[in-house]
């Protein structure tokens, strides 16, 4: 009974699914309550992108965000985490408005190729993000990196989301 109620609650919020499809591939799936053109806009306009890519719970701040979203165009994100800084950069390989984005991650020779697709149905958008790593070890390390980034600060997230949710309100 409890499990049933819990799964019903889980269904109400759009769930983020993470699947490790193979040793070198990771797939993240999520539905958004808006048309593909708006979701795509949020991924391709730096002023919108920077508002969600680095959630406060990561304990990092985004120092700069440059995105030249066209085939062959480059992006560069600079982060600060405490006293340390890190830069992530790469090249857009495919840009198909409202449906598909492909970019490389070039900060190391173990960087992944990221493909994001946007599929609209009934005013909602199914987003699938596929990451292909050059080796199993590179993907293992990426997960550990995410763990380090999220780890201890994650407990603050619920509180944060409640605050943000209250201030933004619902339409």
């Amino acid at each position: 009974m409890d499990a049933r109620r819990e799964s019903e609650v889980a269904l109400m919020k759009n769930r983020t699914m993470v699947e490790r499809k193979s040793e070198r591939e990771l797939v993240v799936t999520r539905t958004f309550n808006g048309p593909a053109r708006l979701v795509f806009e949020a991924w391709t306009k730096p002023e919108l992108f920077r508002r969600w890519w680095v959630p406060k719970s990561m304990g990092m701040s985004l120092l700069s965000c440059e995105m030249d979203v066209r085939v062959g165009g480059r992006y560069r994100l600079e982060f600060a985490h405490g006293d340390s800084q890190a830069a992530f950069f790469g090249t857009y390989k495919e840009v198909t408005p409202h449906s598909r984005l492909v970019w490389t991650n070039e900060e190391s020779d173990q960087g992944s190729v990221t493909t994001v697709t946007f599929a609209e149905k009934d005013g909602k958008t199914l987003l699938v993000m596929h990451e292909l790593y050059p080796s199993k070890e590179a993907l293992d390390a990426a997960g550990t990196g995410a763990a380090d980034a999220m780890g201890e600060t994650f407990g603050q997230l619920d509180e944060l989301l409640v605050t943000l949710g209250a201030s933004v309100g619902r339409s």
């Binding site: 759009n14 699914m17 806009e41 969600w52 959630p55 993000m129 997960g143 999220m150 997230l157 933004v168």
Partner: protein, 121 residues
Amino acid sequence: MVQYSQARFDASFAALSNATRRGVLEQLGRADASITDLAEKFRMTLTGMKKHVGVLEQAGLVTMEKVGRVRTCKLGPRRLDEEAAWIERYSQLWDARFDELDKVVEELKRKEKVDGRKKRE
């Protein structure tokens, strides 16, 4: 990262890549259950649930015990803390990002509505 046997690690990842199977493990963490129980709880056919349990069994995450005519599932001997933690943390990162992205999309939708109204006026 601690070293694991690769085959073990990969089988566990495959088993854990599915939300229903993670739910089944959570459920079995609370109490043993028959496949019929599980199928009911997760609103699935018996055949569907058998498949999920089979994958978990192969990964060593679940064991089956036959008592009379009833087959009972229980958590297997394999510890899944590390594997589950890996996927979980990765999910948390994306979940947090996408919760923020929801807000951006909501705002764009509202803005479009307002702009559309202005155009019509």
